[in-house]
């Protein structure tokens, strides 16, 4: 048996988009998606994150889920720049419908229309929704 790896994945970079559609607490999806984003970034994949529907609440300032017995993980979104994850998109329609503005978010995001986001999604190799 040789010591050669079965899969040679060295240097393969794919376009990953993680799509957050749910409110930050109440389910484990948002936290799991965030962990997954960090793993993709650690493997130096071309990683972007989109927030739509109630997912826009994940990056809202001033979260305090202590009473829910959950950790406030919104500060972790601010670590993404250090992981070279700089493409953060918020869908304009979702943001507007919830009365939010870019200043309400803990990170700098690019606001895109649903149509623009659809185009970005079409460019991805991998889409992961939570």
């Amino acid at each position: 048996m040789s010591e050669e790896p079965v899969f040679d994945t060295q240097g393969v970079v794919k376009k990953f988009m993680y799509v957050n559609r749910r409110a930050p607490y109440g389910t484990i999806y948002p936290l799991e998606i965030l962990e997954s984003v960090l793993v993709a970034a650690a493997f130096e994949q071309d990683t972007s994150v989109a927030f739509l529907d109630d997912g826009v609440f994940q990056i809202k300032k001033g979260q305090d889920p202590k009473e829910l017995g959950m950790k406030n993980f919104s500060p972790t979104f601010r670590a993404l720049a250090g992981y070279d994850v700089e493409k953060l998109y918020v869908e304009k329609e979702s943001m507007d419908a919830r009365g939010l503005k870019v200043d309400d978010f803990v990170v700098k995001v690019r606001v895109v229309s649903a149509a623009e986001l659809a185009k970005l999604m079409a460019e991805q190799d991998i889409l992961i929704t939570g």
């Binding site: 650690a42 493997f43 972790t76 670590a79 250090g82 992981y83």
Partner: protein, 110 residues
């Protein structure tokens, strides 16, 4: 393997990371370092304190690539290198230094 520090028993997971991060003290860090055969110098403490500051700010332990980059920004190129960190923490700076710092295992460390 639990650590016994100043008469208190500190629980860890099977890999030796603290179960309750809030229990961390410098004495516990010293006990973990001893179990890891790391002789703590000022340079070691600088990395451990840097990791704790990072965790307080972002609520995660950084991956190694992110740690070296952040160290480089703060302390200069000499300290922001894999070699520097591996010289201090031979079993992997992110894994070993995070353990001593009382943090969870870094995400993306597989």
């Amino acid at each position: 393997m639990p650590y016994t520090v100043n008469g208190n028993t500190i629980e860890t997971d099977e890999e030796g990371y603290l179960m309750d991060l809030s229990l961390w003290t410098q004495d516990i860090a010293a006990a973990i370092a001893q179990a890891e055969s790391v002789d703590m110098t000022d340079e070691h403490w600088q990395v451990v304190n840097f990791l704790r500051d990072y965790y307080n700010e972002y609520q995660i332990a950084p991956a190694i690539r992110v740690l070296t980059k952040a160290m480089k920004e703060k302390f200069g190129p000499e300290k922001g290198s894999n070699k520097y960190l591996y010289d201090l923490f031979p079993y992997g700076p992110a894994k070993q230094a995070c353990k001593i710092a009382g943090l969870p295992k870094p995400t993306g460390c597989v």
